[in-house]
């Protein structure tokens, strides 16, 4: 009881702070200096129509490398934590209800389309909303749908690891290529910038985002597969 009172007091205090923040919020009318720089220079410097993508892949490319690394470490740790709980191949399995003909056929119909949508999202990252992270999540959703139809499906961890590490190496390789050929690490101008709005424009951004998409998709898929392979408790 005393505990709950303490929690409520704490939240009231925090609520007071938040109310002060909302009351003191004064909306800007114009962009600040950094945002103005991005708005004015992205089209000439990077050639990407989506300014958010330009920031993520090029202006702050090193942060994205760190982010992908964090995600990789997370997937690896999830695999490590759950490694001992892996279901044995000959362990008794409780009877699973069959997924039914409709869901099976629907999966076979929809999985290729979902994969295609994922590819579309990350290839078009520099023109439309979306990019590697979203596209990767959609690819992992296709894997999820396969797992739903057949919960005992084994997804080859070797293939996932191969895609993942190849994509990681290519990502760093393109970054280093940027130092050699252009202005710095992960500079996209190793390829011609092209015309704003074309699919083959913005230098190396579509390639980098495709690599990120494959890598993120492989990481999320490995997380899902690891969780699906644990034993029932």
């Amino acid at each position: 009881m005393i505990r709950r009172l303490f929690v409520i007091l704490l939240l009231l205090g925090l609520g007071g702070v938040f109310a002060g923040l909302v009351a003191g919020y004064s909306p800007d009318d114009t962009l600040n200096l950094t945002a103005r720089y991005y708005a004015d220079h992205t089209a000439q410097d990077i050639g990407a129509a989506n300014i958010v993508t330009a920031i993520i892949v090029t202006y702050r490319g090193l942060d994205t490398l760190g982010e992908v690394t964090v995600l990789f470490l997370t997937a690896a740790i999830v695999g490590l934590v759950l490694a001992q709980s892996r279901r044995k191949a000959d362990a008794p399995q409780r009877p699973l209800p069959p997924s039914g003909e409709l869901l099976t056929t629907g999966t076979r119909l929809l999985v290729p389309l979902i994969l295609l949508l994922g590819v579309y999202v990350f290839v078009n990252g520099h023109l439309t909303p979306g990019g590697g992270f979203q596209g990767g999540a959609i690819l992992a959703s296709a894997v999820l749908m396969l797992l739903l139809t057949d919960p005992l499906l084994r997804i080859g961890h070797g293939l996932i690891a191969a895609i993942e590490s190849t994509a990681g190496l290519l990502f760093v390789g393109i970054g280093v290529l940027g130092i050699v050929l252009a202005g710095g690490f992960l500079d996209n101008r190793i390829l011609p910038i092209g015309d704003l709005g074309n699919l083959f424009s913005a230098g190396a951004i579509p390639i980098i985002y495709s690599i990120i998409g494959l890598k993120v998709g492989a990481e999320f898929s490995s997380m899902l597969a690891t969780l699906a392979e644990t034993e029932d408790l």
Binding site: P129, F133, A137, L144, L224, L233
Partner: protein
């Protein structure tokens, strides 16, 4: 059409708060709590779109609501006993 957008924003805000309360109420079945948390994320994605952030909206729909909910249900499917408190 600003009034329409503001009305939508208000409706979404109220719904998100209601779904948030449903998600954290201890008397709810755990699967419904997770579903309500997923609903908060999905509606937040529409709210992001209203705030002119389509990139964030897509990320929230694909990752924040989609994958998180799936992971929760996979773990919950393994820990059936956890549904009781």
């Amino acid at each position: 059409m600003t009034p329409m957008l503001i009305g939508m924003s208000l409706l979404l805000a109220v719904t998100m708060v209601v779904a948030g309360v449903l998600a954290t109420r201890p008397s709810q079945a755990l699967s419904i709590s997770i579903l309500a948390a997923g609903l908060v994320s999905l509606l937040a994605s529409v709210q992001f779109l209203l705030l002119a952030a389509p990139d964030v909206a897509m990320t929230e729909a694909a990752i924040g609501s989609g994958l998180t909910t799936f992971l929760f249900f996979f773990v919950l499917g393994r820990i059936r006993g956890g549904d009781r408190d």
